[in-house]
């Protein structure tokens, strides 16, 4: 992700099914990257269904201008369900990072040993917070903590920018979820 000249180029895939907040997590990460002075592209891709279809989000963050916004192989994968993990795990580069939602994925994938795997019971943590829907923010918090490109605080500060005004009452619980995820990744 980082080379000898301190240039970095981080390719991230966030994947799950429609309704898990994949696109919101991607938007928040993109907004935070922009606000912290990084170059960033964010490309959502989803099925025609509103819920239950596939949803994923490709992000590139760098300190250099980004040419292709398409992510074919990634440094980091955030997999929110089994189908996404199966589909995208082969795309993780060596020495990459996998954050997986162990609430919905019951077995550890067999991956190259250089890949770090962090299993986060995101749905359980979200339910404890009071809303299962914030599982997306839990895994994002864990990712931010582990990767260290953008701090969980910087991302949390962008929450109001990406959540629609009529949902702003959910800003506190989403922010809590980011911090819970980060805390989980620290311990």
């Amino acid at each position: 992700m980082q080379d000898a000249n301190n240039n970095f180029y981080e390719e991230i895939l966030i994947a799950g099914f429609g309704g898990q907040g994949i696109l919101l997590a991607g938007k928040l990460l993109a907004q935070a990257a922009m606000k912290t002075g990084h170059e960033v592209t964010c490309m959502p891709s989803y099925g025609a269904e509103v819920r239950g279809g596939t949803a994923n989000c490709m992000l590139v963050m760098s300190n250099q201008p980004i040419a292709s916004p398409m992510v074919v192989s990634c440094n980091s994968l955030i997999a929110m369900n089994k189908a996404s993990l199966d589909k995208f795990a082969p795309c993780i580069k060596s020495a990459g990072l996998l954050i997986m939602n162990s609430s919905l994925i019951d077995e550890m994938p067999k991956l190259d040993k250089s890949i770090e795997i962090l299993a986060v019971p995101a749905d359980e943590i979200a339910v404890e917070l009071g809303n299962q829907k914030v599982a997306n923010m839990v895994v994002l918090g864990a990712y931010l903590q582990r990767r260290g490109v953008i701090s969980p605080d910087a991302a949390a500060a962008c929450m109001e920018d990406v959540i629609a005004k009529h949902h702003h009452r959910t800003v506190p619980i989403n922010t809590q979820a980011i911090h819970k995820g980060a805390e989980f990744a620290r311990t």
Binding site: C42, M43, P44, P69, M70, V72
Partner: protein, 348 residues
């Protein structure tokens, strides 16, 4: 901002008076954005009953001298072709955005560049052209809007912004240019009420003997002026290149990554990116082909722009095509592999 929202806000800044549209993925964000922002600005927003209605509403608003636009995606743009032809015949300015999706038919919602022929050959019936601008980033998409409205007004013709599902959907940081532009000449042809002046007539029906031919010669002269003055393209590392990729829109972005990787391997690759697809940068490509080098045309189609590249090069250099049709997106590695194959074969 996503590309669709960025172009919408940029259009409003450019002085859009009236937006007409019918929803279709992957450009729904435009209609949604306009439905909120245009009334806020005291401007016109109409969700029409069909794409046919939308383009004819654009015709009507434009005839009164107002800046008007519509947006759609491939199947919807097909429906609009009759109206675009009428706009050309009546010499009315209009801005149309096509966020292309996979075809033919209803196809699917994934990105495509399959509408190149339709966009650059006029599209509807009759001997006419539209100016076609193909941005390759969200920033450029936004910047293109004010240029599109200016060109439409100056030449009194349709300007088509040809984007694709990726550009429409992807999010990138954007700086919106809010500087006021110098005013353009008044639209003395517009239908604004004929008090104290002779009446203006806007029409595309020319029955009098010789009148239609005369109009067509006038249009062709206008198109020659556009070709002379408004052709744009970007060149990237072309000077010493042994292999030159020609690609537009989002594919050019992917191709730049492939060019950079090829350069790291010591392969002298470069890129020509047509920014206007009509007028096509024929001269620039012709000039680049004076030295013998391989041209690799990459498109999200089965090969459409490649014809224009071949016409420009006229056999002076070999032209190879690589494409992914109907919703497929070429990857950086795929293009890089093609570059490797072509340069190895060439050096043997």
């Amino acid at each position: 901002m996503c590309g669709n929202e960025a172009l919408s806000e940029a259009a409003i800044i450019a002085g859009l008076d009236a937006y007409f549209g019918y929803p279709i993925t992957p450009q729904n964000e435009i209609t949604a954005y306009m439905s909120r922002r245009m009334p806020e600005q005291g401007k016109v927003f109409v969700q029409s009953e069909s794409e046919l209605a939308a383009i004819n509403m654009v015709f009507g608003a434009s005839a009164t001298g107002k800046r008007s636009m519509t947006t759609s995606s491939s199947p919807g743009i097909s429906l609009m072709q009759e109206g675009i032809s009428y706009l050309a015949g009546a010499e009315l300015p209009a801005v149309v955005v096509n966020v292309m999706r996979g075809g033919p038919g209803l196809g699917n919602i994934s990105p495509s560049q399959g509408d190149y022929f339709q966009a650059t050959r006029g599209g509807g019936h009759g001997d006419y052209k539209t100016i076609v601008i193909a941005p390759s980033s969200v920033q450029e998409l936004a910047d293109s809007m004010s240029r599109a409205f200016d060109l439409a007004d100056i030449y009194r013709m349709t300007v088509l912004i040809l984007a694709d599902g990726i550009l429409g959907q992807m999010m990138e940081p954007v700086v919106l240019d809010k500087k006021p532009k110098p005013p353009l000449p008044a639209k003395d042809w517009a239908l604004t009420g004929a008090k104290q002046r002779p009446q203006n007539i806007v029409r595309s029906l020319w029955l009098k003997d010789g009148a239609l031919e005369k109009l067509n010669y006038k249009l062709q002269e206008k198109y020659r002026q556009v070709q002379k003055n408004e052709t744009r393209c970007e060149q990237y590392m072309v000077d010493d290149a042994d292999i030159v990729i020609v690609a537009y829109g989002i594919v050019a972005r992917i191709a730049i990554s492939a060019v950079n990787k090829a350069r790291q391997e010591g392969i002298k690759a470069g890129l020509i990116r047509p920014i206007t697809l009509w007028p096509f940068p024929t001269e620039q490509i012709d000039k680049a082909s004076e030295e013998l080098r391989i041209f690799l045309v990459v498109e999200m189609s089965c090969g459409q722009m490649v014809d224009d590249v071949k016409l420009a090069i006229a056999g002076k250099s070999p032209v190879v095509f690589h494409g992914r049709p109907g919703g497929g997106v070429p990857s950086v590695d795929e293009i890089l592999e093609k570059i490797r194959q072509l340069t190895v074969r060439n050096s043997v």
